[in-house]
């Protein structure tokens, strides 16, 4: 998709004085000269050596008709571990075949020019090589978009272009063993990854570990997490051992340096090993098309990543559009995402206010908290709200703060801000978030005034610290793939120090409420120190803060340094609210454009939607879409459509995926089993008559679950550090494999029990906010949220055969929707047999209750792969 170019026209008044003899016009005081805006974009971002496909850039101007020369610079990948194109890899030509010289020429009367990146075919095996084309500044024009990027690859990744490496297992060293086996490694056509397969038998003792090593030193290159035989295990050739770049790895692979070995109890250094040797004579296998079952499972996986839980209806909608072998699935998913983006967002604030009319005496914070369940379970804007949920765990505020709890309108509006900008740009979102009085209160930059050393007071540093540490680029410099950049001393390089914090803190001085309640009406606020109390109107909490110039520090500020460039905001002589705001915007622009921000934020969004441990390549692919502004539409598409997210083998992996957040585990059950109270939202009998604007499912009813102890509550973390750390690595196997599992930080012994007990309560007695009936015309029974078993009932009746067969169908149904058929895929029969055996002879209601309780208490159901 091409992004619309944003063109800025600046009209510069020029004072022309008589300074030469070439003017026959009388000197005028002012003349307007229009300077064109220039931008560059990539039309085709891949050039391919073996079929001479060219990549294309287009340079465009928005005004002017004279010949225009534009200087440019070429550079390679900023990540030194990746490939960079050099001058013997390509030629730059115009479409007419002529060479591009030292500068790009836009011809007279033309508005644009296309530049082709023509690859030069060579015999080398090369990784993808990046070329960046950056336009140079000049007084003749203004640069809108100055940079474009393309890659050169050896060949497309199709069956024909793949290469096969082969090896047989034999004894390692002096091991006394009769074990044997075979190995193959299929390298992709673009040399970016390969699939490792092997099988072996007759080990002398239990297998304990397995690695890829290099010969002859035996140094370990890559750990393989899976024991036993391996099928289509993805190895992205990330640099390891002595190899510092991906090209080094590729060269070593072709040099036949790598071998796989299997460690056993008897031979802790390895019992058998097999080399990876390139064999041109073996033709690569046909790329296996997906089976219909693979496609079904992928749709469910996609829905569980992108919504609050797959349902028969959402599944069928997608299934109907996707071909049996799934070859158009990415296109359909992409279309689905676009549809989701176009759905009018539901508003937590509007919904809260509508529900409050029916519970006028109740604490507004309780009503506000409960609205999340309706938004998540019945809202049609599923992806948007799921993104809001993910963003709320990065840009954390919490109604654990009593003020934020009381200021429920401000809190609801904060959520709405995350939802309405979930597909906008992160830069704008971060600006808006920073200006909410809710964030101002939470991280104390509200009413934060400039320093006065004489009087001995200093601005609060809280927000300055957290906006860098948590909301943007984090503590240390990172590559685009999220790996840490080491400095000359081989240590991670801090992104800022306390001086930076102090300087940045001064930007956030002078902010206070812009409105307040005065004389019974909403009025603009002119008093900086207006108190942060909460009255019924909450006017001060629902409008962005504004700058009070008298309290803002206009002196010059030196911020952080990123890739040798230090951000300095000069002293401002014009001391107005507007200039303070301009300075604030510049600071946020620089924070979001910091090169570590894209990987830092991208990784966390991947963690919330797809997997706890994305590969560096996955992070880099997503981060490359983030751009300087933080294009969240491009980011969410990159996350959900990435080959790693869509890999059908994920279901069999013992490391891919994530523990479900407890609120997502809850919403998945509520959605699949059509949770309902007896109080419809709409105009039905007993309904609340809320105008739900078609934003909700028509059968939606009020879901007031109350403050259930799941260890997690939307907008309710204990601190700005969220419910868990993105880097939490539980002790044991996970941490020894360098894997993280953030959500497991919630699962202490006591919390785990508490979560299971909440599901017990939901299934066996229903959930309802205590006392909410006292504030309502409805009884407690009417307000209680119960699961419904229509889907299960229909399935039971429609399945032919005996009770056992019917019970098996029920199990397969929940396995399919909650786990994308993980039990079936892994032939995990034992649990199925036990559950089937316990439920098949029960009466209807007990049968479904026991089934749903059992899956929620079963460890296997807590994972999303």
């Amino acid at each position: 998709m091409l992004r619309k170019l944003k063109l800025i026209t600046i009209v510069l008044p020029l004072l022309i004085t008589a300074c030469g003899g070439d003017s026959d016009k009388p000197p005028t005081e002012k003349e307007e000269v229009i300077i064109p805006n220039i931008s560059i974009e990539t039309l085709v971002d891949i050039a391919i050596e073996n079929n001479t496909q060219v990549a294309k850039f287009q340079v465009t101007r928005d005004s002017g008709s004279e010949v225009l020369l534009i200087g440019y610079l070429l550079s390679g990948s900023e990540d030194e571990t990746l490939g960079s194109a050099s001058s013997n890899d390509y030629q730059l030509k115009y479409a007419d075949g002529s060479d591009v010289g030292d500068s790009i020429t836009i011809k007279a009367n033309n508005n644009s020019r296309i530049i082709e990146l023509v690859p030069i075919k060579d015999e080398f095996n090369e990784v993808a090589e990046t070329l960046n084309l950056s336009l140079q500044t000049s007084s003749k024009y203004i640069l809108a978009d100055s940079k474009a990027q393309a890659k050169i690859i050896d060949a497309q990744d199709n069956a024909q272009n793949r290469k096969v490496f082969y090896g047989t297992f034999g004894q390692q060293g002096d091991a006394l063993t009769s074990a044997s086996g075979v190995l193959s490694f299929i390298l992709s056509g673009d040399n970016s990854y390969g699939l490792l397969n092997y099988s072996f038998s007759n080990l002398t003792s239990e297998q304990t570990d397995q690695h890829i090593h290099m010969a002859p030193s035996g140094q370990s290159i890559k750990d393989i997490e899976i024991k036993g035989n391996l099928q289509n295990w993805l190895w992205e050739l990330a640099p390891g051992g002595i190899y510092k770049t991906k090209q080094d790895m590729l060269d070593a692979l072709f040099a036949g340096v790598f071998f796989v070995n299997i460690h056993t109890a008897n031979y802790s250094h390895g019992e058998i090993s097999a080399p990876l040797k390139y064999d041109e004579t073996i033709s690569p296998p046909e790329i296996q098309p997906l089976t219909a079952t693979d496609v079904d499972r992928d749709i469910i996986r996609f829905l569980n990543q992108a919504t609050f839980g797959a349902t028969p209806k959402t599944y069928q909608t997608l299934r109907a559009q996707i071909s049996t072998n799934g070859d158009n699935r990415l296109q359909i998913y992409n279309q689905w995402i676009d549809e989701q983006i176009s759905i009018e967002p539901n508003s937590m604030l509007e919904f809260t206010e509508a529900v409050l009319e029916h519970f006028p005496e109740e604490a507004s914070s309780s009503v506000r908290r409960d609205t999340f369940w309706n938004l998540a379970v019945h809202g049609k804007d599923q992806l948007r709200q799921r993104m809001a949920s993910a963003l709320s765990q990065i840009l954390v505020i919490s109604d654990e703060s009593a003020t934020i709890r009381k200021a429920h309108k401000g809190a609801a509006l904060y959520w709405d801000m995350l939802a309405s900008q979930a597909f906008g740009n992160y830069n704008k979102l971060l600006k808006d978030v920073s200006l909410t009085p809710i964030m101002g209160h939470w991280l104390s930059h509200l009413r934060n005034q400039k320093q006065d050393v004489e009087k001995g007071y200093f601005p609060d540093e809280n927000y300055a610290r957290e906006i860098m540490q948590l909301f943007s680029f984090g503590l240390v410099h990172r590559n685009q793939n999220g790996t840490i950049i080491l400095g000359e001393d081989n240590l991670p390089m801090p992104t800022y120090d306390n001086e930076t914090i102090k300087n940045l803190a001064r930007i956030f001085t002078g902010l206070s409420f812009s409105y307040k309640l005065k004389d019974g009406i909403k009025q603009e606020n002119y008093w900086f120190l207006t108190y942060d109390n909460v009255n019924n109107s909450q006017y001060r909490w629902v409008e962005p803060m504004k700058f009070f110039p008298d309290f803002h520090d206009f002196e010059s500020k030196t911020l952080f340094t990123d890739h040798q460039s230090t951000i300095v905001l000069p002293e401002n002589s014009e001391q107005t609210a507007e200039t303070a705001m301009l300075e604030f915007e510049k600071a946020i622009n620089a924070i979001v454009a910091h090169q570590s921000t894209a990987p830092f934020i991208s990784r966390q969004l991947i963690q919330r939607l797809v997997t706890s441990n994305p590969s560096p390549e996955y992070i880099a692919r997503v981060a490359s879409k983030f751009n300087l502004q933080g294009d969240l539409t491009a980011v969410v598409k990159a996350i959900l459509l990435d080959p790693e997210a869509r890999n059908p083998n994920a279901l069999k992996s013992s490391t891919f995926g994530k523990i479900k957040e407890p609120i997502l585990q809850m919403t998945a059950i509520l959605r699949l089993f059509e949770a309902a109270s007896q109080v419809p939202l709409g105009t039905q009998n007993n309904g609340l008559n809320i105008d739900i604007n078609e934003g909700f499912e028509s059968q939606a009813s009020l879901l007031r679950l109350g403050d259930i102890n799941l260890g997690q509550r939307t907008l309710g973390a204990e601190s700005v550090f969220n419910f868990y750390s993105p880097n939490y690595a539980p002790t044991g196997e996970l941490s020894s494999h360098s894997l993280v599992s953030p959500e497991l930080q919630l699962f202490t012994e006591s919390q785990l029990y508490s979560i299971i007990n909440q599901f017990y309560k939901l299934v066996y007695s229903g959930l309802v906010r205590g006392n909410s009936n006292k504030y309502s015309v409805n009884t407690k029974a009417q307000l209680t949220v119960q699961l419904q078993y229509n889907n299960l009932n229909t399935l039971w009746s429609n399945t032919s055969g005996n009770n056992k067969e019917k019970a098996e169908a029920l199990f397969d149904f929940v396995d399919f929707y909650l786990l994308a058929g993980q039990f079936k895929a892994n032939k995990n029969q034992k649990i199925k047999d036990i559950i089937v055996n316990e439920i098949d002879d029960l009466d209807e209601s007990s049968r479904y209750k026991l089934l749903i309780y059992s899956i929620n208490a079963n460890p296997e159901f807590t994972i999303q792969k």
């Binding site: 007071y457 503590l475 120190l529 002790t731 599992s741 012994e749 919390q751 029990y753 007990n757 059992s854």
Partner: protein, 485 residues
């Protein structure tokens, strides 16, 4: 205190437990084991110690917890720095120091008082059961203001950031993080901890860095703040299915599922042990509910946590662990705004909870065996944020702060370490006038003293604190850390 005359000696308690276990033996096929464990409890009685690590999250403004009292240069510096958040001298609870406190720059000072909400802490101090260790904080090595200003100092990474300073406070200021000192200490003292069902690392406040072990063998057992929960309706088919679900997880299962299974199994095993401990504790005759109710902290989170810890200590014979390490946490100390109001209620709660905890420990006869440490990731700036006009002002993240040590083994009634002179823009101020004190004692030094009391040999201290050699020997007089008898 003890108004119900229910003080039970440790000896009497053991007698009760013995009877209880033998009584059990008569009706129970595993009686022999019960008798053995009862005897073991008697034998081990001589050698039980508990460490209770109370963490105040957010950065306690400890310079308003313990403050100079009475006219003096120190008091003047305090008032100059604190401005509108200084506490008036008259409202402070007076401390009777057994020895004059050391103050930075070879000064000394006698007049100190505690925050108006800390009356009970002052009583415990004056009763010589409680001591303060002044101006401790995370340090890589000793440093100076000059070195910091000219940027030549080697400083703890990410000074003034909550998450990093918490991590370092509970371990050491080195990267990468490998273990918490509580977790590592439990590994060094495994001989004392015989239980195979419940970890000696018990948290009543969730997972934490303090209890992370190095070797991945010992995990923290995180119980609820009121004890071990039960599973609702855990019987019949539900029990069958759930137990089978747990046992079907094997080493080919997803690694996160394996970990989930481990936590679940730990919860099931510990549930039994914790319930036994609570039953045993409640049979002692100590009225836990009354003690915490009287102190006004029955509903407070820290009160509930400490009540559970007291019961685990009293009912210890059911665990078989003689060196348990407890983690307790209280949040809300990040007083950027409304400091005076929020600190008042926080300290009142802390004061009440520690008082009730002390009282029940005395009643159950465990006060001499239980060392309670109270610390926070950093102190706060002496100077407030904003100006004096704003009633809702607060303070910012800083560095050194005061810690509390409480227990029968404490050399109470004294201020240990070195108190800052509270002079801005000079001496110990690491900043340009905000009053961020360079710690005069490293956390590693303080922790070494506690670890040694707990059973770690002096020789093994560097295993816990690799950087300890950068500092003055904590066991020498010069360090002024003789806070344990």
């Amino acid at each position: 205190m003890n108004k119900n005359n229910q003080q039970t000696s440790r000896r009497k308690f053991i007698k009760k437990i013995t009877q209880y276990s033998i009584g059990g033996a008569a009706i129970n096929a595993f009686g022999l084991t019960s008798m053995l464990s009862a005897q073991q409890a008697l034998a081990d009685e001589q050698d039980y110690k508990a460490l209770v690590y109370v963490f105040l999250a957010g950065g306690n403004d400890s310079f308003n917890m313990l403050a100079p009292k009475g006219a003096s240069p120190l008091r003047t510096n305090y008032e100059t720095g604190r401005r509108n958040i200084s506490l008036s001298s008259e409202t402070l609870h007076e401390l009777q120091l057994q020895q004059t406190a050391k103050v930075y720059n070879d000064l000394s000072h006698q007049g100190f008082g505690l925050h108006p909400a800390c009356g009970d802490l002052a009583d415990m101090f004056n009763n010589q059961e409680l001591a303060f260790i002044c101006n401790i904080g995370n340090l890589v090595k000793p440093t100076t203001r000059q070195a910091i200003l000219d940027k030549s100092a080697e400083l703890p990474p990410q000074l003034y950031s909550h998450s990093d300073q918490q991590l370092q406070f509970q371990s050491e200021p080195v990267k990468p993080f490998r273990f918490g000192w509580g977790g590592r200490m439990a590994e060094l003292l495994t001989d004392f901890n015989q239980s195979t069902t419940v970890s000696p690392l018990i948290s009543v406040a969730g997972l934490n860095s303090f209890q992370v072990s190095l070797g991945n063998q010992l995990s923290t057992y995180a119980m609820g703040m009121d004890g071990a929960a039960s599973l609702s309706g855990f019987n019949g088919s539900r029990k069958t299915i759930l137990n089978n679900g747990l046992s079907s997880v094997d080493n080919t299962s997803h690694l996160m599922i394996q970990k989930y299974r481990d936590i679940f199994n730990s919860a099931k095993q510990a549930e039994v042990v914790v319930k036994d401990s609570f039953t045993a504790a409640e049979s002692l005759g100590v009225n836990y509910n009354d003690a915490f109710e009287e102190a006004g902290v029955a509903a407070s989170k820290i009160g509930r946590q400490l009540k559970s810890v007291a019961k685990m200590i009293a009912g210890r014979q059911s665990t078989g662990n003689n060196r348990p390490i407890f983690f307790v946490k209280m949040g809300g100390f990040d007083g950027h705004q409304n400091l005076l109001t929020s600190h008042q209620s926080l300290l009142a709660e802390l004061n009440g909870a520690l008082k009730a905890f002390r009282n029940v420990l005395v009643e159950q006869g465990d006060f001499d065996k239980t060392l309670t440490f109270v610390g926070s990731e950093f102190g706060r700036t002496l100077t407030p944020n904003g100006d004096g006009e704003d009633a809702g002002t607060g303070t910012d993240h800083a560095w050194g702060g005061h810690a509390i040590a409480l227990g029968g083994m404490i050399n109470g009634g004294q201020l240990f370490g070195t108190h800052p002179d509270l002079a801005l823009n000079q001496g110990l101020d690491a900043s340009k006038g905000r009053g961020r004190w360079i710690p005069t004692t490293a956390t590693s030094q303080v922790n070494s003293v506690m670890a040694h009391w707990f059973g770690v040999s002096k020789q093994n201290i560097p295993l816990l604190f690799p950087s300890i050699s950068n500092f003055a020997d904590p066991f020498q007089q010069q360090a002024n850390l003789n806070f344990i008898k």
